[in-house]
Symmetry: C2
Subunit: 348 residues, 2 copies
């Protein structure tokens, strides 16, 4: 079976995934029996193109990177907008990596719904749809017999959603705590090393690690939305998780860090989820944690998630120094999971 | 499908698993569609019994705990030894938890081979068979169309083997480093807190955490065998992994710890595996690592495994304060994985 793939969004993540997919063509065919063709690419600023025969993915990447439009790709048929591309791409899997509003997960949620309704499985690297649309999108996918996967939504391609789904059979996750936002952790680590919050932030911006407007990071929104996404999926509660408290790191003073360090502690922006009266509840705030602890040991852009379970005690997953390559891998790993499920359901 | 289960070995781990299995009977049936019956129990000192209709598992546990023999269990037919029990139990899955020789993995390996040859899937919590018999046992299982699983062999039920198999599709593990032995880590943590090695060891023995004869732990054998098991499975090298170097913690002095601490480091017994000239090679030795690092942050009986991969960068898994309940969970999780595979292959 040749997988028909479509892309919506071709920013840094989409292009990194496109390159990875091309680079691993032989391994995917040889080790996983996966061959693929790209039947649609939709962007907001560089046009949209569909093709039954298959588009040249790397050519599209090059055109986008040199500021050109992809409407005139070889074998491609231009379409007017992403919605039409979804309707007409006839894909097995849509990779959704559009820029989205952190406040409501749009337009990603409507693109994903549209694809699922057309029986196209969806892989996203966006946290918004999982934080704000999960119960509905899950039901929609199940009802149409397709899959909705999102390993890259939190901690890039580090297994968190897949770990819970595939590696803890028979056990339940009761609560979790994590350091989920790389920007604030980089700043906090800088402050640990004696730099000011402003200097640490400026350094990170120079390195291109932090967005020009880091308000979503500094105010704890990014961590909160990731925790909502995790809670919706990991805690087996039907109702969407809700945010009970959110404090970012803006109000932290150098003295707070100094006094923590003096007692062997560090400060981390910790997102916690627990189930209270049957509802999954999130809190995000700076916490003093022992420097030598699973939460305290992640420095720089590294992340950690600690899960408390009923039968397996407490386990943690650490991701060291992630970059865009790891987000691209998340999309690849979801694609392989979907391929394996499709292959099984076709009895091959 | 009702799973027919057999037990070989009914020590602490086997009995904890038997209790867990009984306690989760409703969840297993309701959530996983698993019903089960015990068709054989074999012990070295308390007799062996088989039954087509099913033995009373908790009655067997109680008899063993009160020093009685299980030959006369209700509906049971006594058999002479574990080998005969394997031959005649007619089980779908054998749970192997016998005491074994750390030097060669026997008699576990011969029991496991015997079961696999009879097309019985095997779940073990023993590291020896994976360290010393893996390539053969894997081939044997594949040849007979059954499964050989061993999540409990390293880090109890914390997903390490399952994580590599199910959660890193398309990626390769290139090397790993881990703190895998709880006894030495408990002693090293005690020394960090200012106690002597002898006092820390005695405390641990009083708590029942450490064996009466801790030579396998102190000399690094336990960590080395676990690393061999991990390397055989995780590093995708056909030839068995080999041990290049092993130093335990006996020669460590209080001064070594003091000088490490003075520079922000701690000492951990670190097992490392890498691939050199196409061969997987293990080293085990005490290492100075930053106190605030993934290897340094595990204290007491906690374990950690850090894996370097080709596509997913570096990820780590932490198990906090494991006990026998987590080893029992390992057996349960392997049972569910086997059941799911059997169900799929039966097309149900």
């Amino acid at each position: 079976m040749e997988l028909k793939l479509a892309f919506i969004g071709m920013g840094n993540v989409g292009r990194a995934f496109a390159r990875l997919l091309d680079a691993r063509r032989c391994e995917l065919a040889g080790q996983h029996g996966i061959t693929w063709v790209v039947t649609g690419i939709a962007t907001a600023r560089h046009g949209c193109s569909i093709s039954e025969e298959g588009l040249d993915l790397l050519d599209a990447v090059h055109r986008i990177e040199s500021g050109q439009n992809i409407n005139a790709l070889d074998r491609g048929e231009p379409v007017s907008d992403p919605a039409e591309a979804i309707d007409r791409c006839n894909a097995d899997i849509l990779f959704e990596t559009t820029p989205l509003s952190a406040a409501d997960g749009q337009p990603a949620i409507s693109y994903i719904s549209r694809a699922l309704l057309r029986r196209i499985s969806v892989v996203t690297a966006n946290k918004g749809p999982v934080a704000y649309g999960y119960p509905e999108l899950r039901r929609l996918a199940a009802g149409r017999g397709v899959m909705f996967r999102f390993e890259g939504a939190v901690m890039d391609g580090c297994p968190v959603f897949n770990l819970a789904q595939f590696c803890l059979p028979g056990a339940r996750i009761l609560s979790f705590a994590g350091v989920l936002n790389s920007t604030t952790n980089l700043i906090l680590t800088g402050m640990e090393d004696g730099r000011s919050m402003e200097d640490s932030l400026a350094d990170a911006q120079r390195l291109g690690i932090v967005e020009a407007d880091p308000v979503n990071d500094l105010d704890g929104w990014d961590a909160a939305i990731k925790a909502l996404a995790l809670a919706n999926v990991l805690l087996s509660i039907d109702e969407p998780a809700s945010l009970a408290h959110r404090t970012g790191i803006r109000e932290l003073k150098a003295e707070d860090m100094t006094s923590a360090l003096a007692e062997g502690d560090v400060i981390r922006l910790v997102a916690r989820a627990q189930v209270l009266s049957g509802r999954a509840t999130i809190t995000v705030k700076p916490e003093r944690v022992p420097r030598s602890s699973a939460l305290g040991c992640v420095r720089g852009t590294s992340n950690v998630l600690i899960m408390k379970t009923d039968l397996m005690g407490e386990i943690g997953v650490i991701e060291n120094d992630p970059g865009i390559a790891q987000t691209a891998y998340a999309l690849l790993s979801d694609m392989i999971v979907i391929h394996d499920a499709l292959t099984r359901s076709h009895g091959r």
